[in-house]
Symmetry: C2
Subunit: 578 residues, 2 copies
């Protein structure tokens, strides 16, 4: 490609609505252009990256035996009503009526459509397993679109759907996709991590997220550096540590004026935060025969730990809907306003649920159910009954033991770019998608679904790879692998000639090369390509040419390297294919 | 590709809603699957064809200097309001509201968005010319979607937009696109014709349609076999033929009971239809200062000719809105009910507009403005005043002189698959898209737009290339170039071995090959591939192998050819690259 025939448009300053580095750099590098809130035109430089991402995804999906098709963007409401998602999805699902008043969804994913395709195409177990995928525009009407391509409304996603006879087959299909994803993200040249995820409301049997590692990532990833264990924060299990020590202190009621928070209590009493107890009052409502009954729960966490709401929702009695108790309820149940609650001497019967770490505490500090008072020296069994339930309620922290027993946990930040999911029969049963088994009996199809946020990859790659000059693309997904920067193209016949030769030679070697023939001054030219983030640059200058030398610089290199003219193509090939 | 790893799903019968052959065959060959009215899933076999079409389009667009980007599907209403198309487009434009109640269009084309991109990106004449294109999903809420991919609602289109400094530059960009389209359709391997088209309401300065020739086509294409002249029926000029002969007959009022149509009159009087006059009464209404004034026009055509409404709309006085006069108006103006009108002795003053052919008639038959009566022997000048206006009002017919004077016209049927259009400054002026010229003064950008109906190509290609067995794809856009049909794969080690060898050799030779390893009986296997329309087939049988022979058959061949095993790859390469 010649820069004069391409479209390059860089900016010195990012627009003010760009909050994060990838959004700023993509705007400045002319990769995207805002059309509306969360809606972007992919400019030529950005589209080139998207196409490279898509090509790698497509190759590995095909290699893994998945078959590409293309499902429509505009999908009839009837299918979405069959699975109940038409009502469940809320305003995120963009809905539209046609001229006859019929309702449609603009697809955010395609479980319904693919299940509809498969239920009419698949008759027999002989046709299984099957895995269909498409790379298609999606729309999600986010309440607050932001961060450029990271949380846009219109975006491109690869979504795949597998269909199997039984659980075992589905898990095999799932593993094939897991392996394909590992290959895909490896080929992108990004640091990434696959973590076990919670199955959430869909109720499947297994799920993993693929995250690009970036300190700016929204998600906390938990992993064990000395083993394979990795999970997202929702799913990472916090084991009990140590055992409960015997009481050594006497229970003492202590004045703690205006110290309603654990941090304030610890400071006031000069103790470690981990010796305090955090009390969270929850209410679960159940309706039966039109009558609502309330059940009250007291969740107990160590003062230095954080509640994990996903885990709380798995506690018996809380698996339906639960909520934080209102101040009114707390006053009624505990006879005390929030901030001084504790498991000793509560007024009404409540279910006490202790985190595993709490169950092992001794000589701890807890609210006295009286404003401005706490107990010190509190001990289970001696000063209050044992907790009704002991459960994993908290987010893990660095240094926690790994659930696989093979080390301690570390935490890093990540950006979710892929998700593989064992769906089971949730969709196939709702939509009556069955096949005939060996005995001629209909059975529901076992499904898996597998997504990659194609356009999001761009944002995530940049969040992981940038410096103060701009983007640093991994070679595999760079808009161009190599840029040729001739100096004084209009003045020097020699430069012109050698540039053309090198351009032709690089193309012949299969290198995706752009020659900057725009006639810019060197400073402006270099700044553009550093901003755009092309990973390999060769400067072609008359003085160097006369000495038989060209100047190579990798985007991460601090200095240029002289390379003999005769070796340059092989040299670049080596760099590009590294 | 191995058929067992792909997805093949053929049908013996087409669904009953498939009216035309391409729709029937695409459904039967498992290329598309209906999701809703005018909305189709592109199944793997169909998507492969679409991708090949897209690749050829992309290559030639890039070669012609156009730059690919990707504009969003969901586009803010505000842009569409700037050009007035939000109101003008009517229910064909699919409109949607987001969660905040803001309005959007699902794009049917992207003139507004590209003009918005360009007006913010282009500052100077130095950045011109420019041509941007994208290949993107489109939606048009057709009132009556039908014919499968031929008139769908959701479809894929390549649309390009050129931007130039002046008319001359724009015409140059237009010619480049015209040439690129010629290359694209040639590469598809389809018989096609570019025809001049009417510019219609957009009011540009030039326009051509590209049609795939097919006897089932909706459009009539006019061309001169002995010259370059070609136009669609709307635009093809009908020249005057011959000169007016002197009168030889006397004007005679003749009873023509119940003969209100030219055909009936000719039959009754035993004369040729071309000696009769067809009278069409039109009314043009004009509003000025709240008062509506009506003007009446009498259009005259030869009895054997057809009115061309596009041409009629160019007659002075009819260039605004016109309509057919009501029976009431006719009674009032002509004092006679329709069927017996004529230019002799009309009651009120009307503007008489004669087609060129009519102006040259003599001794003709025309209505007497009296029910059940006609005049015979009518002559201009002698029996009535010369027509107020003589104009080209009719559709040309086979044998008419070519407007370039180089022969006579022929007519064939076509399917419109491409359109190139000189837009001028209609959009750039409405949207204030200007550039600074050499003198630093702002000037509106000269635009062109260029569309190719990507998914429609599939339908058109089939309408042109099929037989009673199924589709016959041109090699360039066939889902696979070659199918290998091994006989008794499960019984013969030799067949299995040679099939694998040939499969590998074909792949190595760059041939897009599929091997049918599904284990079907020969009849069913051959029927599938004939229906799907793969252009080249090789049958691998044990008997032939033992004699060192394979059986080749082209999709259009009536018989198979034996080819020595050693030559087969070169043989196929020759066929495929033909």
């Amino acid at each position: 490609m010649r820069a004069s025939r391409f479209f390059i448009s860089t900016l010195k300053e990012a627009p003010s609505d760009a909050e994060i580095v990838s959004h700023k750099l993509m705007m400045r590098a002319g990769m995207i252009k805002r059309l509306g809130s969360g809606i972007y035109t992919y400019m030529p430089m950005g589209l080139k990256v998207i196409r490279k991402v898509e090509a790698i995804v497509r190759e590995e999906m095909n290699r893994a035996g998945a078959v590409e098709l293309l499902m429509p963007l505009v999908q009839p409401a009837e299918l979405w009503q069959e699975t109940g998602r038409w009502d469940k999805m809320g305003p995120e699902l963009m809905r539209v009526k046609d001229r006859h008043g019929r309702e449609f969804a603009i697809q955010p994913t395609s479980e319904e459509v693919i299940t509809d395709v498969v239920r009419s195409e698949i008759k027999s177990y002989r046709q299984l397993p099957l895995n269909f995928y498409h790379i298609q525009t999606k729309f999600r009407d986010e309440r607050r679109p932001r961060f450029g391509l990271m949380r846009g409304r219109e975006f491109t996603m690869k979504d795949a759907y597998s269909f199997d006879r039984d659980l075992e087959g589905m898990q095999k299909s799932y593993q094939i996709m897991f392996d394909a994803y590992t290959k895909i993200f490896t080929r992108f040249g990004l640091k990434f991590r696959a973590v076990a995820a919670d199955n959430g409301a869909i109720g499947g049997t297994g799920s993993h997220e693929f995250h690009v590692i970036a300190s700016t990532g929204e998600d906390a990833l938990v992993y064990c550096p000395t083993s394979d264990y990795a999970a997202n924060m929702e799913a990472a299990e916090a084991l009990a540590t140590g055992t409960r020590a015997a009481p050594t202190a006497a229970l003492t009621k202590t004045a703690t004026p205006k110290a309603a928070k654990c941090e304030d209590v610890a400071k006031l009493l000069g103790i470690e935060l981990s010796k305090t107890l955090k009390t969270i009052a929850l209410t679960a409502e159940q309706e039966q025969d039109g009558k609502v009954t309330k059940q009250y729960f007291m969740l107990l966490l160590r003062g230095d730990h954080e509640l994990n709401e996903i885990k709380a929702a798995k506690v018996p009695g809380l698996t339906g809907a639960y909520r934080f108790s209102t101040e009114e309820e707390i006053l009624e149940v505990y006879g005390c306003k929030p901030g001084y609650l504790g498991p000793i001497g509560t007024k009404a019967p409540v279910t006490v649920v202790a985190d595993r770490a709490v169950a092992n505490m001794s000589d701890f500090v807890t609210g006295a159910n009286e404003v401005d008072f706490h107990y010190t020296g509190a001990n289970w069994g001696r000063d209050m009954a044992e907790p009704h339930i002991t459960a994993d309620l908290r987010n893990v922290v660095e240094g926690d033991p790994s659930p696989d027993g093979k080390g301690v946990l570390a935490i890093e930040r990540g950006i979710e770019v892929g998700h593989v999911f064992q769906l089971g029969t949730a969709y196939s049963e709702a939509m009556k998608a069955t096949y005939l088994d060996e005995n001629g009996k209909p059975a529901p199809l076992q499904m898996g679904c597998y997504g990659i946020g194609v356009t999001r990859i761009l944002g995530a790659a940049i969040e992981q790879n940038f410096d103060d000059k701009g983007i640093i693309w991994p070679t595999a997904i760079a808009p161009f692998e190599l840029v040729l920067c001739p100096m004084g193209l209009d003045r020097s016949e020699l430069v012109k000639e050698e540039t053309e030769k090198l351009y032709a030679a690089a193309q012949a070697a299969g290198i995706d090369v752009i020659v900057d023939d725009r006639g810019l001054r060197p400073g402006a030219m270099f700044a553009d390509w550093e901003l755009i983030g092309v990973p390999h640059r060769v400067v072609i200058g008359e003085r160097g040419l006369k000495e038989g030398q060209l100047e190579y610089q990798g985007r991460r290199d601090t200095e240029a390297t002289n390379v003999p003219l005769a070796d340059i193509v092989e040299f670049i090939k080596g760099k590009v294919r590294q």
